[in-house]
Amino acid sequence: MDATQAIILTIITASTPLLLAAIGELVTERSGVLNLGVEGMMVMGAVCGFAVAYETGSPLLGIIAGVSGGMVMAFFFAFMTQTLATNQVATGLALTLLGLGLSGLIGESYVGLPGVKLGQIDIPLLTSIPFIGAIIFGQDILVYASFALIFGTTYVLFKTRTGLIIRSVGDNHNSAHALGYNVIAVRYACILFGGACSGLAGAYLSLAYTPQWIENMTAGRGWIALALVVFSTWLPKRLAIGAYLFGAVWIMGLYVQALGFGIPSQFLSSLPYLVTIIALVIISGNKTLTRVNTPACIGQSFVPDR
């Protein structure tokens, strides 16, 4: 394996958690819900995934636990914002604060313990394709899952009736309600899907990316995922491009840091956050690009008349 391959491989691993979390949030937002709790759901996924994998020795059970952890958090959010019609921004913040605290509490006894690493699944034959073989077909299962999720969500959102209903609820919840769709149920489902994806992203961090538990190990990735959704203008394929570009910036920062050049490490570490801001500015300034796909009802509570 040559250096370029190695770099591309690390870029994919760095991008995958962003991609997983962002694709879930994209679906949530398409249904008209803004869940700012991605960071909280992700970090809960990370701690649950790590703890269960450590206790059972099974990374698969760890993944399931991570997904469940994210979904439990998402359920709190859904109950608050859908059943009780609370402010989505504030509730999302609460979810993040709670997730960071709770994960710290749960993970306290796991700090510094060796983790269980998720193995790579080499797809026979295909891995031997020169250069791209090892990159595309020598990954762990969650990377494959992220590929599948991109194509899956694109298909479901734009080619199926389910997707049509999700988009309709996000575009105009009053109309959807008038036609007899259960707006709140659709949103519950999308929020839970978002939670599952965030949990998966967290589990990826603590099982594959750096197989250990460190407090606040998500380090703002949940927030970056939220920014990626805006950057993607709510289109899954553009989201994938954004996530990989982002992972590339992240990894390049690390490489430059390793090589020295006398640049203080803090400046390179702040690069991903800076790039996020720049990306947001570029995309948000473009009205035509953002307005067409922005779910019109995003962030608004829906309380049906009875």
């Binding site: 049509l164 009205k287 009875r306």
Partner: protein, 527 residues
Amino acid sequence: MGKNISIRGGTAASTEYLLEARGITKMYGDLAANNDVALKIAPGEIHALLGENGAGKSTLVKIIYGSIQPTEGELYWLGEKVHIANPAAARNLGVGMVFQHFSLFEALNVAENIALALPKDIDIKDLSEKISEVSKEYGLPLEPTALVADLSVGERQRIEIVRCLLQEPRLLIMDEPTAVLTPQEADQLFLTLERLASEGCAVLYISHRLDEVKRLCHDATILRMGKVVGHVNPQQETAASLARLMVGADVHAINANREYNPGDTLLKLNNLCQNADGPFGVSLLDINLDVKAGEVVAIAGVAGNGQSELFDAISGERTSSSAATIRIDGRDSGLDNITLRRKNGAGFVPEERLGHGAVPGLSLSENIVLTRHSDDDGLSKSGFLDRESAVAINERITRDYDVRKGKPDPEARSLSGGNLQKFVVGRELDRKPKVLVINQPTWGVDAGAAALIRQAMIDLALSGSAVLVISQDLDEIFEVADRIAVISRGQLSDAYASSELSLEKIGLLMAGEHEKKTTIQDEKVSA
């Protein structure tokens, strides 16, 4: 539960009613939106449901369409008792509904919008063909791949109708369908409805336009304050007798008899142009208009043709690019913000009461401050508010304009539509503005409030102010206006004396007869 009854056509000449509602009651807290309502609709009849705003018409049709559940009462479909749990169940029975506020999705295309109202197993490709078929058959042209956001109001209504027709309905509910149409478009709609009726489909037709009802409907049920107060054959009634039934008293006639004696121009729009704000907005193109002291000028037009953009431009919520485009009481105001324009003697009433004209969660006295913080009556002194004055002004306005409220200073959102509109209009009239610009002055308010507001506008003009009314309601326009101009796609026609303007002519203008061509003719005339 509603079973999927797919029988269609072959309208057996049965004396049985298609739909019968018995003893329908719907309570909201202590308020009975429907009180023991009965309704019978036979196949193939066009049945009018009449009533004022707030009489309970919408509640009743929502119950029939399964959107809400009655507190008490039963529905019978072809003599059989049914429970309509949700709109899908209603559609399965064969009930279709065209909503007044359309249930469309702007970000989706026509075919997707229609697919959402049809059973699950529809293939989008087949659907596009079916749409073309049905729309051709009924003369309702539609492009399946067009984005709804890009369509006019008339086209949007076509989507709603085609959406219902594809379900092969046996009962079609139409909620105020002509409110958004030009007279010609309305005529086309009546043809479609009559044809449907002749094929055996029943139509439940909700309107407050009585001449329309007289012309189209075979039967009428009249609601007042949630109760059925009459069941008549509209063809044997006069518009006045129907109105009396609806309102429960003689309708307060507006005293519009006055000499038309205009003074100086107080509001002048001078080649006003403005680009659309965002991809779904309307651009204003070269708008010219004079409104003189002592006259009421009305701007007619179908919703979404630039009315709110024009209002924003005149009010200064969006300032113009040059000062001379708008002249208020002798001052070039194009660059002034809304506060400066108010100080210069203008008053404005926007279309949306809640959220634009008033803040829903703030009290009425606080809402007084909203438009009057920079007036001379001392509501704000060197940055500090005088809440007592605001309360005093609020008391005066609510007394003078008969705003009914449960407590002295309630939140704006707790008022009924009519009362809040009286407040929002009264707040401006109380300032005695030299120029009043008012958008959809009586939209969704009861007849009493509407009469009061219309009279107040006329009285203001009589006292020497210039009044500009933007309205979709042609009856209202002919009632109050001295001169009428029509807006379509951001272009304003010339203003005609209302006595000279026929309904046909206004319809042609609403459909865009004056667009561009007019300007070319003008050039020829002036040349």
